[in-house]
């Protein structure tokens, strides 16, 4: 099979399976587990960008994604502190 077509279908698979895992995966009551599952559809979107040759979109998406982790982690910790 061609590499471009297989990358496209792999991206769709990651998007669907990761979304199902976020909604009804094991122990998603914990917010950090749910946030770590959210990383899977992110990588699915990256693979779809890669299959359509959108280089600039892929580069900015990767750079922003490793910075948005900081905001989410800060929010989860602040929520846990306020509920104590």
């Amino acid at each position: 099979m061609d590499i471009v077509v297989s990358t496209l279908y792999l991206g769709y698979f990651l998007l669907i399976f990761g979304t199902l895992g976020v909604i009804l995966g094991p122990e998603t009551r914990d917010p950090l587990v749910r946030f770590l599952n959210v990383e899977i559809p992110t990588i699915g979107v990256m693979l779809i960008f890669l299959a359509y040759n959108h280089t600039l979109a892929l580069m900015t998406y990767i750079a922003i994604n490793s910075l948005i982790v900081l905001v989410f982690i800060r929010a989860i910790i602040r929520k846990e502190e306020l509920e104590a």
Binding site: I3, S6, T7, L10, F13, L14, F17, G18, G21, G25, P26, E27, L32, V33, L36, N37, E39, I40, I43, M46, L47, L50, T55, L58, M59, I62, A63, N65, S66, V69, L70, I73, R74, I76, I77, E80, E81, A84
Partner: protein, 101 residues
């Protein structure tokens, strides 16, 4: 570099990368401990970098390789602080009924 498998040509680096991505995807969702999930996420990102390199996008691959340890270090520090916070809250709440008595 190319392996002849009954007529078509299959290359090794995309095969290994696709294998890493599928296995890492299943592993991240099925494990429930934080550190196991982060190790599996590392495994998944290695497959992603291999697949980007096999499309000859070397600048994107170098950017991903630089940005990935930053994300991993932030996740590890956050999970450690979250674990410590949850543990101290559980100890405090287990001590609370004794204070009520």
């Amino acid at each position: 570099m190319k392996v002849e498998v009954d007529g078509g040509t299959v290359e090794i680096l995309p095969l290994v990368s696709i294998f890493c991505i599928v296995m890492g995807c299943i592993g991240v969702i099925l494990n429930t401990d934080y550190l196991d999930k982060i190790i599996m996420l590392e495994f998944l990102t290695g497959g992603l970098i291999g697949l980007i390199v096999s499309f000859y996008y070397l600048d994107v691959a170098i950017l991903t390789s630089i940005m990935e340890p930053v994300s991993t270090v932030i996740l590890l520090l956050g999970s450690l602080k979250y674990l410590y916070l949850k543990r101290s809250k559980k100890r405090y709440s287990s001590k609370l009924p004794i204070l009520v008595k």
